[in-house]
Each structure stands twice: as structure tokens, then as C-alpha cells.
């Protein structure tokens, strides 16, 4: 079986999002089929400027074919067009113009897909919202599998995507919530699709004691891992945590790991460590009481899965449907939608080691049943078998 993975960017330097998701899946599926990645030369996700050399190369044993972006994105122009289509009555042509502006505008990639349709059994497209997915799936709907990685943002309601979601041969969703949202938008229940997500591997050799000693953390702490950004709910987390500290007599500290785009509040119990190597990240997570996950928008929170894989409970933002759904299904975390709920849930988790242990155990079980690589690979293979039977 030959599979092509089609994604907007691809490279070892890209360490997050749908691109990393795609790379991991491609690397794992290599065991079962011939895999080729079709992508652009872009590295920068704002302008899509050509960065990587054109043509074929090998990345971690995977054959990668890159196509040029013929017109980089002009962020200002793109912003103007996006505002126009989100705020005004418009035609499908306007949405197509928006899609072209959003990019990565690489017609050669689409031509290649069309010309080499017979070389592959399936084309797996990652990220519904970019040029490559819309035109690639439109070119070969019967061979397309879409991994939408969709969040509940404004553009998903464009009519363009309602049509797109009815085209592919099959879907691979990240979560039940994503599946429900897309099905509600496009009424595509008749298209086969499974909730799969992505696996993760926990490295050996991490040590919470070394972490505490290395970074001089005293006493109990909870941890946030990820980009420190307003979109990720960090401003609200800081506000809630500081108010909680004012109202409750607790020594607990909030440790932050990740690149920050915000000014971290000057508070003795908020400790910012910056971007850390993987070993330190996992050591920090292992030594913490729980993971704080305040994000408003997630299609699948990989760090939440990592926390559960390590037996740690999670306190999540309930306004993010995916996080709330994961907590409810796993019984491995509590969630909050306002300060009152944050305070009570945080207090309850802090005050009960037994509850934390029980939720941690639930998390481990949830992770093992759904997100180990054996399970993920098995789901992809089952989907291919199902599609082959239907053919």
C-alpha cells in the first residue's frame, strides 16, 4: 500500500501543531506501507516564504517532496480579506480568494497530486483550513482522507468548508467534540470517520528530584506546559491563581514551562522556567501535583495526554469543549468555567491526594486504551481495511 501525507509544512524543526502530528503518524505508518510526504518549501507559517530546498529529500527515513510557494502571504492583505469575509455578506468567490491569500499558495503541489493519483492508494491531508487541503481533496476526493485538526474558530463556518467536509473518502478526527462539530456543520455523517488522535512517547530517565534541585523549587507545585499566550488561557490562569492565593492559605506554586509571549506576573509563587528540554519537562510534570490546562482552543491537547500517561490529574478550562470532553470521558481531571468553579475544583484536587491518585490512575488507563502508538496505528490500519472493503 502506498500512502501520501499532504501537509502545509514538514521538517524536524517544526515542533508542534498539525505538522508534528503528521510527521509522527507518517513515521509510525512507515512500518506498514510505503509513505511519501508531499509538502511545500515553507517553514514560516505566517508568510509561507520558501525556505527548504525544492525537490525530494529524506527526513527521518521518510521521503519528502517539496513544492514551491509561488506567492508568499501578505499578512496585512490577508487580515483585510479575512475581516471582510467574516464581517460581511460575501460570495464563494470571496472565500476562495481568502483561501488563496491564506496559502500556502502552491499550485505545483496540487498539480503533482492530480498527476500522480494512480501512484498512491490514499492521500492523507492534514489541516482542513489551508490551500493544499481544499484543492487537493477537490482534485481527488475518492482517494482523500482528511485529518481536519479543527478548532471552534470563526472560519470553520465558511461555506467553503461545509462543502469540503462532504468531499473526502474518510475522516480521522482528533476528538469526539471535533467530530460532532464537523458533522453538525456539514451533515457528513455518511462519510466514514474514526476518532484517532495521536500517540506520544514518554522518555525514560527523568527525575523529579533532579528537576526540583536544578530549578530550586521548594514545596508543592502545579505545572503549566506549553506556549504562554493569551490564546492559551494563561492570562486568566494567572488572574485566577493570584486570587486563589489571596483567598486561600496554601503554599502551592505555579510552575510555567514554555516560550512566553506575555509578561509573567511578578508573584513569588509563580515560577517561570522558560523553554526546557524534554527530559526536564517530563521530570517537572512527574514532580507536580497536577497539570493546569487553561487553553480555550484545542483540537487535541498533547500535553494533557502526556500528563495522563504519567498518572497526573488535570485541571482544565471547561470552556474548551475538547478538554472538557476529555476530562469527562477519562474521569482524570476536573474543569472550570468561572473563578468559583476554579477555586472549588482546585481546592478539592489540592486537598485530596486520594482523589489525585485515583484520577491519575484513570488518566493512565485512558491513555493506554486510546493513545498508545499500537492503538493509533491499529485505528489507521482498520480504516484502510474498511475503505478497501467498501471499494
Amino acid at each position: 500500500m502506498r500512502i501520501a501525507f499532504v501537509v502545509q509544512r514538514y521538517g524536524l524543526e517544526i515542533d508542534g501543531g498539525a505538522e508534528l502530528h503528521c510527521r509522527w503518524i507518517a513515521e509510525h505508518m512507515k512500518k506498514y506501507c510505503d509513505v511519501e510526504v508531499l509538502t511545500t518549501r515553507a517553514y514560516d507559517y505566517i508568510t509561507w516564504q520558501n525556505h527548504y530546498p525544492e525537490g525530494k529529500e529524506e527526513v527521518n527515513g521518510i521521503s519528502v517532496r517539496r513544492f514551491p510557494v509561488i506567492r508568499p502571504r501578505d499578512p496585512e492583505r490577508f487580515g483585510r480579506i479575512q475581516n471582510h469575509i467574516l464581517e460581511n455578506e460575501h460570495r464563494v468567490e470571496d472565500e476562495l480568494r481568502w483561501l488563496e491569500e491564506e496559502g500556502p499558495f502552491s499550485p505545483a503541489l496540487i498539480d503533482h497530486i492530480r498527476e500522480h493519483a494512480s501512484d498512491f492508494d490514499y492521500f492523507i491531508f492534514f489541516s482542513y483550513r489551508y490551500y493544499h487541503s481544499y484543492w487537493g481533496i477537490s482534485a481527488l476526493p475518492h482517494k482523500s482522507i482528511l485529518v481536519p485538526t479543527a478548532e471552534r474558530d470563526a472560519v470553520i463556518h465558511l461555506s467553503l468548508f461545509r462543502d469540503l467536509f462532504r468531499k473526502p473518502r474518510a475522516f480521522v478526527y482528533n476528538s469526539e467534540e471535533e467530530k460532532n462539530m464537523i458533522q453538525a456543520l456539514s451533515q457528513n455523517q455518511d462519510i466514514p470517520g474514526d476518532v484517532v488522535g495521536v500517540g506520544t512517547e514518554i522518555p525514560d530517565g527523568f527525575s523529579p528530584t533532579d528537576f526540583i534541585r536544578k530549578y530550586g523549587i521548594k514545596g508543592d507545585y502545579v505545572i503549566y506546559i506549553g506556549r504562554i499566550d493569551e490564546n492559551k488561557g494563561c492570562v486568566q490562569l494567572f488572574r485566577y491563581f493570584q486570587r486563589f492565593k489571596q483567598e486561600e492559605s496554601t503554599e502551592v506554586k505555579l510552575v510555567l514551562i514554555g516560550n512566553s509571549k506575555l509578561i509573567i506576573p511578578d508573584h513569588p509563587d509563580i515560577i517561570y522556567l522558560g523553554f526546557l528540554p524534554e527530559d526536564d519537562k517530563f521530570s517537572g510534570l512527574m514532580g507536580s501535583l497536577m497539570l493546569m490546562m487553561p487553553s480555550f482552543y484545542e483540537s487535541l491537547s498533547m500535553v494533557t495526554l502526556e500528563a495522563w500517561a504519567m498518572g497526573k490529574p488535570v485541571l482544565a478550562n471547561g470552556r474548551c469543549e475538547v478538554l472538557k470532553g476529555q476530562c469527562v470521558r477519562s474521569h482524570a481531571g476536573l474543569y472550570y468555567e468561572n473563578y468559583g468553579e476554579f477555586k472549588e475544583a482546585f481546592n478539592l484536587l489540592l486537598g485530596s491526594e486520594r482523589l489525585r491518585d485515583a484520577m491519575g490512575t484513570n488518566g493512565e488507563r485512558y491513555f493506554k486504551n486510546r493513545y498508545t502508538w499500537d492503538v493509533i496505528e491499529g485505528k489507521y490500519l482498520a480504516l484502510f481495511d474498511r475503505l478497501a472493503e467498501e471499494r
Partner: protein, 200 residues
């Protein structure tokens, strides 16, 4: 943090062998919902409302029996001199006693009406309390929406700032590239001139 044996505050009923997150969140919400009521001072004490069908006490009737009849006939016949007869026939004391009884009966009627009003008043208070709670819930919802709107506003603002910065940087880089092109051109010319001097 916490107690290893799980002897934490027993505010929530949790089955640790079979954790149910929705049930715990339900208990948390219930607790939060109950908090404003606890903190509200001076809830009216429960008053047994008088039954609506309970009759009001009757005013004391006039003196009853034959004595009253004779009295009224005599008063009619001798109407012109009735004040004198009244003064002579009826003892002032009796008159005072009757008046006092009348006043007492009137007081009782007023008290009864007041008790009924009190019952209604408590009902009104109760209704007001419900409206108050609904308003608080609505306000919380509005606050949530406001926070959300604020967040969206901030995100848009940050995006605009980032885009502007990128645009400026882009212009700077373009400018630098132009300067470097000119430098390069100048160096090329200089190279040619030097070559001319050296080899010419």
C-alpha cells in the same frame, strides 16, 4: 498537600473507586449556587401564614335581648329628649365598657388583617429572592460573555500588533536588501576600476 488517607474535607461525596467527574462538577456547582444564600443576611423567619379561609373576628354586637329592644323603642319615642334619657337610663360605665369592647374587637380585626398581610409579605419576599437569584445567575453569564469578548478583543489586538510589526520588519528588510544591492553595485564598479588601474 492533602491527607494520604483521604481524610480531606468531606464536603463532596466521592466514590474513589469509581470516579465520576460530572458528578463531582455537579456537586461543585451546587455548592457554589448555595453560597450566595448562605452569605445573605437576615432571611425572614418562617411564619405560619394564617389560613385565607379563617373568618375575621366579629365586632361585638349591641346589647342583646329584651333590654336592648326596650331601650331602642324608648329612645325613638323620646327622641327630642333622648340625650337626657340616655344619660338617666344608661349608666355611663356601661357605655364606656361597650366602647372599650368595640375598640378591642376592632384591634383584633386589624391584627388579623396584619397577620394575613405578613404571610403575603413573606411570599413576596420569597419571590423577590428567586428573582434575585435568577438575576445573579444572569449577571454571571453576562460576566462570562464579557470576559470572553474581552479575550477575543485582546486576541484581535495582539494579532494586529504582530502583523504591524511583521510588516515593519518586512519593509526594513526590503530596505536593507536595496542598500546591499547598491553597495554590491558600487563594489562591482570599484572592482572594475581597480582592475583597470592594475592591469590597464
Amino acid at each position: 498537600m492533602g491527607d494520604k488517607n483521604g481524610n480531606e474535607k468531606k464536603e463532596f461525596a466521592i466514590d474513589y473507586d469509581n470516579i465520576d467527574v460530572e458528578d463531582i462538577m455537579g456537586q461543585i456547582r451546587k455548592k457554589i449556587a448555595s453560597q450566595p444564600e448562605v452569605s445573605e443576611p437576615g432571611d425572614p423567619l418562617p411564619v405560619e401564614p394564617p389560613s385565607a379561609s379563617a373568618p375575621l373576628p366579629h365586632p361585638p354586637g349591641s346589647p342583646s335581648g329584651g333590654k336592648a329592644k326596650i331601650k331602642s323603642i324608648l329612645l325613638k319615642i323620646f327622641k327630642p329628649v333622648s340625650p337626657v334619657i340616655k344619660f338617666l337610663v344608661l349608666p355611663v360605665h356601661q357605655e364606656v365598657m361597650d366602647t372599650a369592647q368595640n375598640l378591642h374587637a376592632t384591634n383584633e380585626r386589624i391584627d388579623s388583617v396584619e397577620r394575613r398581610m405578613d404571610g403575603n409579605f413573606n411570599q413576596i419576599l420569597q419571590k423577590l429572592g428567586e428573582v434575585d437569584r435568577a438575576t445573579i445567575a444572569r449577571l454571571e453569564e453576562l460576566n462570562r460573555i464579557r470576559e470572553y469578548t474581552q479575550l477575543l478583543y485582546n486576541i484581535s489586538h495582539n494579532m494586529v500588533v504582530e502583523l504591524t510589526k511583521l510588516k515593519i520588519e518586512h519593509e526594513n528588510l526590503k530596505l536593507k536588501a536595496r542598500i546591499m544591492e547598491k553597495d554590491f553595485e558600487f563594489l562591482g564598479k570599484r572592482e572594475k576600476a581597480l582592475e583597470g588601474k592594475v592591469f590597464g
